[in-house]
Subunit: 290 residues, 2 copies
C-alpha cells in the first residue's frame, strides 16, 4: 500500500483515490491548463514564471478569473510536497474548466478543478546518474506542431501532438517542425544549438514549448554576455551544429549526442550552460549562508 497523496480540488487524498469526474472538461476535451514544475530544496523553481504562464494559459482558455490566486496554488503545491515528504521533486499542476455538461461550448460560470501531483526527482548537477542516462538522440518526425491559429502553443492538457510525436520517434526525443518545416523543438523540451560560438534557439514566435528552463538558459546567457540568436532554423542547421542540447524541467540541460544519425559531441558551451544552471539552483535553493 502506497502512502502517496495528491491534491484534488483543495483536499489531499491517497493517490489511489485521486480522481476527476468523468464529465470534467479536462478529461472530455483536454480543456485545462498545465504546468510542470521542478522543486529544489522544497521550493518550486521559478514559481513566478510558472504561475504567470498558468494564468496566461487560462486567459487564452477564457477562465482566468475563476482560478485560485497564485498564493493559494503555491500553498497547494507546498501541502502536496509536505504530505509526501518531498524536497527534490517534480510537480504537475493542472487547472481545468471543471464539470460542464453542454458539449464543447464553454459555460462562463466556471468552477475549476485543480489537481496537484508530485513525485521524487533527485537534484541534478550529477549528470549521467539520475535525470538522464546519456545524451539524448533527436529524431525528426513527420508530425508537426500546430500554429497558434489551431491551438495555443503550450500549456494545455490537449497535448496529443507530443504523444504522437514521441510514438513516432520510437524511444528517441522527437524533433518537431511547424507546417513550414521550421524547427520548433522536442516533444517535451526546447532545443538549443551552438554554431560558431553563438547559441541559437527557435524564436518564441513559433509554436514551441517555450519552457521556463529555456527562459532561464536565455537569462544565464544574457548574464554571461554569450551571443544568442532566437530565430527560424531548419533541421539541417541542427545536424550541422557544433553542439545541440535540450532543456526541460525534468532533464534541466541535456546534451544531444545524435541528430537523425549525425553524431554530436557534448561541447564546452553545453557544459558551461549546465554548470551555470546548477550554480543558479545552488544559489537560489540550497545555499542558505547568505
Amino acid at each position: 500500500v502506497s502512502d502517496v497523496r495528491y491534491h484534488v480540488d483543495g483536499r489531499l487524498v491517497p493517490a489511489s483515490e485521486a480522481a476527476v469526474d468523468v464529465r470534467d472538461r479536462g478529461f472530455v476535451y483536454g480543456d485545462g491548463a498545465v504546468e510542470r514544475l521542478r522543486v529544489y530544496g522544497g521550493d518550486p523553481f521559478e514559481w513566478a514564471a510558472h504561475a504567470n504562464r498558468l494564468s496566461r494559459t487560462c486567459e487564452t482558455l477564457g477562465f482566468e478569473r475563476a482560478i485560485p490566486p497564485t498564493d493559494d496554488l503555491r500553498e497547494r503545491v507546498a501541502e502536496t510536497l509536505d504530505a509526501n515528504g518531498l524536497t527534490d521533486a517534480r510537480v504537475r499542476v493542472s487547472i481545468t474548466r471543471g464539470i460542464q455538461d453542454r458539449g464543447p461550448t464553454p459555460d462562463p460560470r466556471v468552477d475549476p478543478t485543480v489537481v496537484v501531483t508530485a513525485s521524487e526527482l533527485p537534484r541534478g548537477g550529477t549528470p549521467g546518474e539520475v535525470l538522464w542516462d546519456e545524451p539524448a538522440t533527436l529524431r525528426t518526425v513527420e508530425r508537426r506542431r500546430a500554429p497558434e491559429a489551431v491551438l495555443p502553443a503550450a500549456g494545455t492538457q490537449a497535448d496529443l501532438c507530443s504523444v504522437l510525436a514521441r510514438q513516432e520517434a520510437d524511444g528517441d526525443e522527437a524533433l518537431l517542425r511547424d507546417l513550414q518545416g521550421t524547427v520548433c523543438g522536442g516533444a517535451s523540451s526546447d532545443v538549443f544549438f551552438v554554431r560558431d560560438g553563438t547559441l541559437h534557439t527557435p524564436t518564441a514566435d513559433l509554436p514551441i514549448p517555450a519552457g521556463i528552463t529555456r527562459a532561464v538558459v536565455l537569462d544565464i546567457a544574457d548574464g554571461e554576455s554569450f551571443p544568442v540568436e532566437a530565430g527560424r532554423y531548419a533541421v539541417g542547421d541542427l545536424r550541422g551544429a557544433d553542439e545541440v542540447f535540450l532543456t526541460d524541467p525534468t532533464w534541466e540541460i541535456r546534451p544531444v549526442g545524435r541528430v537523425d544519425g549525425t553524431e554530436k559531441p557534448v561541447g564546452p558551451i553545453t557544459r558551461l550552460c549546465a554548470r551555470l544552471f546548477d550554480e543558479r539552483v545552488e544559489r537560489v535553493h540550497y545555499d542558505r549562508s547568505d
Copy 2:
C-alpha cells in the same frame, strides 16, 4: 440524490463516483478515442460505423489491439442504457491509453480506460421542440482546424480546438476553416449547403468532423439520386447558398438560418433530407411490424 449510473472500466457506478485516475492519459494529454452515439428505441444508431471509427482512431493512437472487442463495447453501452432506463438517448464512449506515468511517451503495454456515459435525448422528427430551438446561426471564427500533420481530424479527446471555436462564436455554432481558408464545418457538426439543386459538403480529405450523421445523409442522398458534390468551398459559398444545414448526432439535421449575418430560409432540400432521415430512424429502430 440522483440514480444516474455510468460505466467505468467495466463496472456500473453512481454518476457521483464515476471518475478517472488523475494520472490517466485521457486526463493528462487528451490521449484517448471518443465516439458520441445516438440511441433510438434502445439501440445505438449506426453502431457498426461508430465502432469502426473508434477502432480506427485507436489505430492512429497506436493501441487498437488493447481495446475491448466491439461486442463487449456494445454490451457496456446496453448495460449503461438499462441501468438508467433509457431508450432514446445520447451516449459517449471513451477509450483512453490508461494510466501511464512516464511523460508523453506512450508505453506499448496498454491497459485502456473505458468510460460510457448516457443521458436522455428525445427522439427527433418533431423539429423545433426538443433537439434544437430554432435554426442555427453559423459564425465564421478565426480559430482553424488542424491538418492531419498536426492531429487526427476527429475522434480524440484532445479537442480543445472545438472548445476555443465555440467560445469565439459566442453562442452561435462556429464555422471553422482549415489554415488555407477552406470550410471544414462546425465545432461539433458537419455542414451541407444547397446550390442550384445540388447538395454540397466539405470533402473528407479536409480535417472535418466527418460524423456518422454526415455519412447517413450522403447515403440518403445517394438512395434518392440527389446530385451531391464533396469538395473544397469558401465561406462565400455558404453565404451565397440557397440552403445550409448542419448534421450532428444530437441535432440530427439542423437547418441554418443565418451565416455571418446573411439570412437563409429553411429550404425544401433540407426539409426533405430531415424527413428521409426520420423515416430511416423509424424504419430501423421503431417499426417492428416487418
